[in-house]
Amino acid sequence: MKEIAAFCDAHREKFLLNAKEELFDEYVQAILAAQ
């Protein structure tokens, strides 16, 4: 999961996602912080 989140975060332009998108940022941060 973390690998996928990090990849999507690093390739936002590929998926037409803005560099700053609150909801998406929240998803990424929560997944990367999961233990």
């Binding site: 999961m1 996928i4 999507c8 998926f15 996602l17 929560a30």
Partner: protein, 254 residues
């Protein structure tokens, strides 16, 4: 003055090479023997390979960890690359030994066996650390391949219950995924969109373990360019999983 420093450099190089080659050849022979012995044992395992370096193994039992590391090692031993960490050890060990000899010959460190041994041990220790890192990096993809189940999950494994009669969301997961191989799922992702990504919210760990790799494969492919629906939808589902009260196994989280 210049001639003097050049001649000192030449002398140092000569000492270095004279010390380096015999140690390097000796350690290489020893490492090759270790490699052959480890390879031929019934419980073959690569040198420098421990379960602690792989967070994906944390949730497994000791016996399961041993088996997976053994299977990954058997596959890794077939490739010449498995010898690279031992080559690194030999290089650093011989390099450390020769450097210590040069430093003591040029008066930079006291000329005692213990000082030379300490310098050699520091350099060889760094080599061992580097060899361990190289081994883990090399084995990780092989290990993940070994850990991935080779059949689609059953209904219970997919959604965590044996009947979906009263669970609408799980019923969709079963309808879309039950019995599908990873290749079939990978094809489905290209035209699935949000309804498919939503299913990842309701999958049990075994379902995630089996279907996340093809989803990641799709995301990395050129085919997924501009597919914001899949990317956003999948991360939304994984967010739900990550913040759920039921903890996920570490290998799924990582």
């Amino acid at each position: 003055m210049r001639n003097l420093s050049e001649s000192s450099a030449m002398a140092a190089t000569k000492i270095f090479l004279a010390e380096f080659w015999p140690s390097f050849i000796g350690v290489m022979v020893a490492m090759f023997v270790v490699w052959l012995v480890k390879r031929s044992r019934s419980d073959a395992r690569l040198p420098f390979l421990g379960a602690g370096a792989f967070p994906e193994l944390a949730a497994a039992t000791k016996e399961q960890q041993r088996l997976w590391l053994h299977h990954a090692s058997v596959l890794a031993f077939r490739q010449g690359r498995s010898f690279v960490p031992l080559l690194v050890i030999a290089l650093f060990f011989a390099g450390g030994f020769a450097t210590a000899r040069v430093l003591s010959a040029t008066g930079m460190i006291p000329d005692s066996v213990w000082t030379r041994a300490a310098v050699a041990a520091v350099v060889a220790g760094f080599g061992a650390w580097l060899a361990g890192k190289i081994t883990v990096r090399y084995v990780r993809p092989i290990l993940r391949k070994c850990m991935a189940p080779d059949r689609p999950p059953t209904m219970e494994e997919l959604v965590g219950c044996w009947s979906v009669a009263f669970a609408l969301d799980e019923r969709y997961v079963v309808k879309h995924f039950l019995g599908k191989s990873q290749a079939e799922a990978r094809r489905m992702f290209a035209k699935g969109g949000i309804p498919i990504t939503e299913d990842f919210t309701y999958m049990a760990p075994a379902g995630l373990r089996y279907y996340l790799p093809p989803a990641f494969d799709y995301l990395r492919a050129e085919q997924s360019i501009d597919d914001w629906e899949f990317c956003h939808g999948l991360l939304c589902s994984l967010y739900c999983q990550a913040t759920s009260k039921c903890p996920l196994p570490l290998d799924v989280i990582s």
